[in-house]
């Protein structure tokens, strides 16, 4: 049962991420990206990490891609941008990334084949355990991420403020 669900979710992830790359219309591509993220959440859930799955939906699908879509709406991209995308997305653009991805895929296959115990089947991790781990052994990573986000926030505030004062004067 889990195996079948995993195959379906994985197929949807791969298919929708390919579509997200190849769509010419930016908003269509973003919606396929959302589908990818939701399918990934299903995979997390099947691997026994319901907390990660829920956060994947809340944070990535619910907040970050919404902001992307928000920007796309603000820019109001029309037909001209679709044509420009069409010019950029020519077959020869795919060679470089394809070779790099193929190398990465080969490394991944070797790594999975070599690893002694590929034990990824359903041990449930409760939200509480995730919390104690994050604020125990991984506290430095959490604090660093906090610094990074604060820096981003201050930077955005600074830029926005300068724009406002320019407009007033």
């Amino acid at each position: 049962m889990e195996y079948i669900l995993f195959i379906i979710a994985a197929a949807i992830t791969i298919g929708s991420s390919i579509l997200a790359l190849t769509r010419l219309n930016a908003s269509h591509a973003l919606i396929y990206l959302v589908v990818t993220l939701l399918a990934l959440a299903v995979i997390f859930f099947l691997l026994g990490a319901p907390f990660a799955a829920a956060l994947q939906i809340v944070v990535y699908a619910g907040a970050i891609v919404v902001l992307f879509l928000f920007v796309v709406m603000m820019l109001n991209l029309g037909k001209s941008s679709v044509e420009r995308e069409q010019r950029w997305l020519q077959p020869r653009m795919w060679y470089g990334p394809a070779v790099l991805s193929a190398i990465l895929f080969a490394i991944l296959c070797v790594a999975i084949y070599d690893s002694p115990s590929s034990d990824t089947t359903g041990t449930m991790v409760s939200p509480k355990e995730v919390g104690t781990e994050l604020f125990g052994p991984y506290i430095i990573a959490v604090e660093l991420a906090g610094f990074l986000l604060l820096a981003g926030l201050v930077g955005a505030y600074h830029l926005g403020r300068r724009y406002l004062s320019d407009r007033r004067s």
Partner: protein
């Protein structure tokens, strides 16, 4: 195995989904009647007993109306948007416990599931605004996106106090934790206050219905919608109202708990119904703020307040 036991709860899926939708439709009539009463007029009172069957008439009208899709818009997104918003709202009912054990999936991420589904509902509104290719719809969609993403933050933070006191994300556990102590509406009154405001903004109902403010944006993001697609958006709005009332009942007013002479789901239903009436009263009583007022209220007052509430709750829990 994955945080919930699969048992007879599958049986609940269809009754819950249909019940919520029908209740949402009846609620449209009930709201109009109440508003009429408060505003010294009659409201819809012609169809059936006191106009109860008004929703049937509305449904027939919506089904038979011309379902127009704007040729200048994005056809696929235009059709998709009402389904997304309605499906997300009904999916959230999966984790709502109506009585002890009366829940489709009693997972230990129920609170997060509710937040996730209400954040996915943003897409319906956003896509509706984007696909209509109309300046009012676009402005409404932009406002809705900014408003909902903003208020999601405090919505999550205001519930965290309750989660800390109950020690679980599971809604059944949160209700059971309130059986031993006082209902959380007293110790978490700040959280309740913030949650009500954030929930109103999240469901974009009056007084926070700026994404569809009639006097400035005609109808905002659903300007171009007609027929049954408009009906779905309308129904989703009322389903969201029911969901919000259910959540407040569960997390702050003890869910199905109550004196034992009535069964639990009756208590649950009564509390939810009283809260729904309260929200309708808010709609009648409070005028709509300006958009920048709404945003600055959120970031400058509610965010620090919810963080302080969280800090105080944590301190008190550690000291006890």
């Amino acid at each position: 195995m994955f945080g919930f036991e699969i048992n007879w709860s599958y049986v609940l899926i269809l009754p819950v989904a249909l019940g919520v939708l029908v209740f949402a439709l009846v609620l449209v009539w009930w709201e109009r009647r109440l508003l009429g009463w408060w505003q010294d007029r009659l409201g819809p009172n012609r169809v059936g007993w006191f106009g109860v069957l008004q929703f049937v008439a509305d449904a027939i009208k919506l089904f038979t109306k011309d379902d127009w899709i704007p040729p200048f818009g994005d056809r696929f997104f235009f059709v998709l948007a009402p389904f997304v918003v309605c499906a997300a709202m009904i999916m959230a009912f999966v984790v709502v416990p109506f009585d002890e054990g009366w829940v489709i999936a009693d997972t230990n991420i129920a609170v997060l599931w509710f937040l996730a589904m209400s954040s996915l509902a943003v897409y319906g509104v956003l896509l509706g605004g984007l696909a209509s290719n109309n300046k009012y719809a676009l402005l409404g969609g932009l406002r809705a996106a900014a408003q909902m993403v903003t208020y999601e933050v405090f919505m999550g933070l205001s519930i965290l106090g309750v989660v800390m006191m109950a020690g679980s994300f599971s809604l059944s556990d949160i209700v059971m934790a309130q059986a031993d102590s006082i209902w959380y509406c007293i110790p978490q009154c700040v959280g309740l206050f913030i949650f009500i405001i954030a929930g109103l903004a999240e469901t974009h109902r009056l007084p926070f219905d700026l994404p569809e403010a009639e006097h400035e944006l005609t109808a905002g993001y659903h300007t171009e919608y007609s027929g049954m697609k408009f009906g779905l958006i309308m129904a989703a709005e009322y389903v969201a109202l029911i969901l919000l009332s259910c959540m407040i009942t569960i997390m702050f007013f003890g869910g199905w708990l109550g004196p034992s002479f009535l069964p639990g789901f009756v208590w649950f239903g009564m509390k939810v119904f009283i809260l729904i009436n309260f929200f309708i009263l808010l709609r009648a009583a409070i005028p709509r703020p300006r958009y920048d007022q709404l945003m600055s209220l959120g970031w400058k007052i509610l965010l620090p307040l919810s963080l302080l509430n969280l800090l105080a709750t944590g301190a008190v829990l550690l000291l006890i």
